[in-house]
Every structure is written in structure tokens, then in C-alpha cells.
């Protein structure tokens, strides 16, 4: 009997304690950060959207290889001798046109593994986190600074350059062969074709 009333009393009493706590919290100022107007202070080294500073990128593909989810796609084209690509900020000479530098932020898992391998520190995490989109394709970010025509031009240039080089090489080889042939006029003509064949094979 005593137990029964004790239980009843205990129940009531503990409920009162709980109600006291909640009532006190009714007047505790709220901790809510009113997001769109007030933005919280982000911690240092916060990992959010990647940014690539294309001025410094040398197209070395290190970040792409480091990426565990392969969300970075890089395509490079070698520069032709006449091109001036400039230098990176830490003095490295650029040798490649970056015709494609796509990061798919839908796939990215914000692990920051791509950042340490970069030799020129051009890829890094920013503190931008508000970039939701209506279409998934808009989450595919194209960082390459060249316009589409420029890329085509670069590719064409390189191809032309290659063709030209090849032609030059072929011509050079021919010349060399001819020179060789002239030098060894006594020898039979049958061997002259061979060096040019070799050149073609290596291409």
C-alpha cells in the first residue's frame, strides 16, 4: 500500500521536475541560426566545392588520378612551339593546353584527396556550399578557360603540327636516306626504303 502511494507520488514529482525543465527552456534564448540572413562561421579548412585556378594548372592529371570516385576528367593537348602558355605562379612552365577540365560535383565526395598531389596548388577547396541545382547536368562544372572554338583550334593546331612534323620528319628521313643513298652509291638500291618504314612504324 505504501509502495503504491509512493509510486504515485514519485510519478507526479518527476513529471513536475520535467515540466520545470521544459518551462525554463521556454525562456532560454534560442540557438537557431537564421540561415539565409545570418550565415554561420565556417571552420578553417572547411571542405566544400572545389575550385581550380586554371592560370596555374599545368594539366598534369595528378588530381584526376588521385580522385577516389573519378569525378575529375582532364584532357590535354600538347602545345605547338609557337604557342605562349605562360608560367604558373610558382615558376613552372606550362606545356599543355587543358582542353577539358570537368569536375562532376554530383559525384564528388569532397574528400580533398585531389588537393595535396597538385604540384602548383591550383586545385583547392573553397567555402562555397550553396550550389544546388534544378538539373543534374548543371552540377558538371567545366573549369577549362578556353572557349569551345579555341579548344577545337588547339586540337586542330596540334594535329596539323603533328602532321607537319611528321611530314617534316618524313622529308628529313627521306633526305637522310637520299643522302645516305648518295653516300653509298655503289651499294644496291634495295635498302633505301627501310629507314622510312621504321619512321612510320614509330609514329
Amino acid at each position: 500500500m505504501r509502495d503504491y502511494f509512493l509510486k504515485f507520488w514519485e510519478g507526479l514529482y518527476t513529471i513536475m521536475i520535467g515540466m520545470k525543465v521544459t518551462f525554463r527552456h521556454l525562456f532560454v534564448p534560442s540557438v537557431t541560426i537564421q540561415y539565409p540572413t545570418v550565415k554561420p562561421q565556417l571552420p578553417e579548412r572547411e571542405r566544400n566545392r572545389l575550385y581550380v585556378n586554371m592560370d596555374d594548372c599545368i594539366g598534369c592529371d595528378q588530381c584526376s588520378r588521385a580522385c577516389p570516385v573519378s569525378c575529375i576528367e582532364i584532357e590535354t593537348v600538347k602545345s605547338t612551339p609557337g604557342d605562349d602558355l605562360g608560367k604558373t605562379s610558382n615558376g613552372k612552365k606550362k606545356a599543355l593546353w587543358v582542353t577539358k577540365f570537368d569536375i562532376d560535383f554530383a559525384k564528388c565526395c569532397y574528400c580533398e584527396l585531389c588537393v595535396p598531389p597538385c604540384p602548383t596548388d591550383c586545385i583547392y577547396m573553397t567555402d562555397v556550399y550553396e550550389f544546388s541545382e534544378f538539373e543534374r547536368d548543371s552540377l558538371l562544372y567545366d573549369f577549362a578557360t578556353l572557349t569551345q572554338e579555341e579548344r577545337e583550334i588547339k586540337k586542330k593546331n596540334f594535329k596539323e603540327f603533328q602532321v607537319k612534323k611528321e611530314a617534316e620528319k618524313a622529308a628529313a628521313a627521306k633526305k637522310a636516306a637520299e643522302a645516305k643513298a648518295a653516300a653509298q652509291k655503289e651499294k644496291p638500291n634495295a635498302k633505301t626504303d627501310k629507314p622510312t618504314d621504321d619512321k612510320k612504324g614509330t609514329d
Binding site: 513529471i15 520535467g18 527552456h25 525562456f27 540557438v31 537557431t32 537564421q34
Partner: protein, 357 residues
């Protein structure tokens, strides 16, 4: 009273009756539900150190309006396997049950829908319609969670009606009336005449009544809380077990009707506690209108006091909701049958003995 007044103006009994019967809905239930839903969200938010709705109107005061408009134009989904007839009728029945309660509640000495002699018992009786509606909703949904929720709800409401009725019986025994209007009139003028402080009795009787009445008030508050399925007695809608109980399959406006009925019930129950134990519409300190000689002010003051008391108990319901966790089913039943019912029987007996003094 309002009916007579309207009858004198319009001269048509049908029209005035119609208007009187609609009054509680438009004067009271709808604005109350709008306010209470917002208050619930704000109270819960502030008890959790949050802010609650902030972005619709100043500090979110239009939040419930937006909710209602949204629910109005939401698709009215009737699942294929339901029992269409009962499924569509159940929300109406539940709302009718909780609306019928308001017919007998005296908002002030002139704003009473019906002055029936059997006020309290009538309120208990029409709650039965709500039970039937809930069972109907649960069964018609053809969903195991709905049915379980409805069963639990019915079992819970019926069990907890017993302590409620026993305490009401005690009050009837002491005051000798069932009419809520007479009950309010008995506890007139000042707060020491309220039933919680012994009512109109005097001397030793009054002193002996006080502890009984305090415990009785607790019992009836707890059991009515269980009758409207509020936390900690919300096992019929227990989200972690039963999705959302008997209204799992309801969407759009039908769900809004359940919602409205729930909030109307919340107030009805608080109003019962306020009428029985806290003087109904009586002011605790006498009336300003009488003091300054403006007698037409008195009913308005009474209305104010009544809503204030009712809203206070609604607030306590919300407060409890954010304080206590949910009961288990067996605990719920044990609490009713092992604690509340014996205690209310003892109160009934003791009050009977004291009333003989």
C-alpha cells in the same frame, strides 16, 4: 440567449437556430485551431530552443493559414483498396462528434449553444461518436496500421472514460447539478468559490474538500488528456510504431478535418476541466463591468476569462507533450485501471462522506 436575441431580430426560428449552431465553429473553433496549431509549433520550438515558423508573415503568424490553403488544394487521395463510403464519412463523424461537444459549453453567461440540464453527461456521451468515427476511419482505410491505431484509440478512450465519469459523478454529488451553466454560476464571483478550492461549501467541509478536489482535478485532467490522444497518451498515433495511426491513409482536406477535430477536442477537454474545477467563465477577481457600471461588458469579460482558462489548459497539454515520452500500451492500461480508477472511487466515497457533514 443569443438564439432569443436573433429570433427577435430575424423572426425566423430556423434561420436563428442555424446561425446559433454555426457560431461556435466560426467564432471559436476555426480561429482557435488556427491559433493553436501555430502556438503548438511555437511552444514546441521554444521549448527546444528553436524559433519555430519564422518566414510566413511576421514571426510566422500566417503559417497555419498557409497550411490550411495548401491542404485545401492538395490532391484528395482515396486509395483503391479502401471502403470508399466509410472512408469518406469517417472524418465527418469524428468532426461532428467533437463539434457536438461545443453545443453544451458555456462560453459566457449569454453565449451558450444549448442550456441542457445534462451538460456534462451529454459531453461524455457525444464523445462516443468520436470513437465510432475513429474506428470507422481505421477499418475503412484497409491498412494494418490504421486499424491497430483505431483499436488502440477506442480501447484507450473507453477505458479512460471511467475515471472521468467517476470524478464527474463526485462533482454532481457535491453540487447537485449536471448543467454546465448552473455549475459555472455556482462558482461565482471570486476564486475561492471555485470547485478546486472546495466550491460554494463553507467551514470544515470546504477545508476537507480541497485535497480531494485537487487530486480529482489531476485525475480528470490526466484522463481527459488520454481521451484526446495527446502525448504522453498518443499511442494510437505513435509515429515509431503505427505510421500515424488511424489517419495514415488520409490526405488533403479529410486529414485537415481530423486535425481540426483533434484541436477542437483539445479545447473541449480543457474547457471541461476549466468549467468543473476552475469556475468556468467566472472571473477570479470580480468584474470590471460591474465595478464601473457598464453591465454589457460583463459577458465579454466572461468570454475572455473562459478562453483564458481554456487556453491555459491547452498550453499545459502542449507543455506536457514536449516534456514526457510516450506510454507503452500495457503501462497505459495499467495506469488507468490500477491507479486512476481506484483513486477516483476513493474520492467519490470520501466526497460522499464529507457531504454528509
Amino acid at each position: 440567449m443569443i438564439y432569443e436575441w436573433l429570433y427577435n431580430i430575424t423572426g425566423s426560428s430556423i434561420l436563428s437556430m442555424f446561425v446559433v449552431s454555426l457560431l461556435p465553429l466560426f467564432v471559436f473553433i476555426l480561429p482557435f485551431a488556427l491559433l493553436a496549431v501555430l502556438a503548438e509549433r511555437k511552444v514546441s520550438a521554444h521549448m527546444q530552443d528553436r524559433l519555430g515558423p519564422m518566414r510566413v508573415g511576421y514571426h510566422g503568424i500566417l503559417q497555419t493559414v498557409a497550411d490550411i490553403i495548401k491542404l485545401l488544394q492538395k490532391e484528395d487521395l482515396v486509395p483503391a483498396a479502401t471502403d470508399k463510403k466509410l472512408f469518406n464519412f469517417a472524418p465527418l463523424l469524428v468532426f461532428a462528434g467533437s463539434y457536438a461537444v461545443f453545443a453544451a459549453i458555456p462560453f459566457s453567461s449569454i453565449f451558450i449553444g444549448s442550456q441542457i440540464q445534462l451538460g456534462i453527461i451529454y459531453i461524455v456521451a457525444v464523445t462516443g461518436l468520436v470513437v465510432a468515427g475513429i474506428l470507422m476511419a481505421g477499418w475503412a482505410s484497409n491498412n494494418k496500421y490504421s486499424l491497430l491505431g483505431a483499436m488502440r484509440s477506442a480501447a484507450q478512450i473507453i477505458s479512460y472514460e471511467i475515471p472521468t465519469l467517476l470524478i464527474i459523478l463526485t462533482i454532481i454529488m457535491i453540487t447537485g447539478t449536471l448543467s454546465l451553466y448552473t455549475l459555472s454560476e455556482l462558482q461565482t464571483s471570486y476564486f475561492w468559490n471555485w470547485m478546486i478550492l472546495g466550491g460554494p461549501a463553507t467551514g470544515l467541509q470546504k477545508i476537507l474538500y480541497i485535497p480531494l478536489m485537487i487530486i480529482g482535478c489531476l485525475v480528470i485532467y490526466i484522463s481527459t488528456l488520454a481521451e484526446v490522444n495527446r502525448t504522453p497518451f498518443d499511442i494510437p498515433e505513435a509515429e515509431s510504431e503505427l505510421v500515424s495511426g488511424y489517419h495514415t491513409e488520409y490526405s488533403g482536406m479529410k486529414f485537415a478535418m481530423f486535425f481540426l477535430a483533434e484541436y477542437a477536442n483539445m479545447f473541449a477537454v480543457s474547457a471541461i476541466v476549466a468549467i468543473i474545477f476552475f469556475g468556468g467563465y467566472q472571473s477570479p477577481f470580480g468584474y470590471l463591468g460591474n465595478a464601473i457600471g457598464l453591465h454589457w461588458l460583463v459577458p465579454i469579460e466572461q468570454f475572455f476569462w473562459f478562453t483564458a482558462k481554456g487556453l491555459f489548459f491547452v498550453f499545459v497539454q502542449m507543455w506536457l507533450r514536449w516534456t514526457l515520452p510516450r506510454f507503452r500500451v500495457d503501462q497505459l492500461m495499467a495506469f488507468c485501471w490500477k491507479y486512476l480508477i481506484p483513486i477516483s472511487f476513493v474520492i467519490l466515497l470520501l466526497a460522499g462522506l464529507i457531504s454528509l457533514i
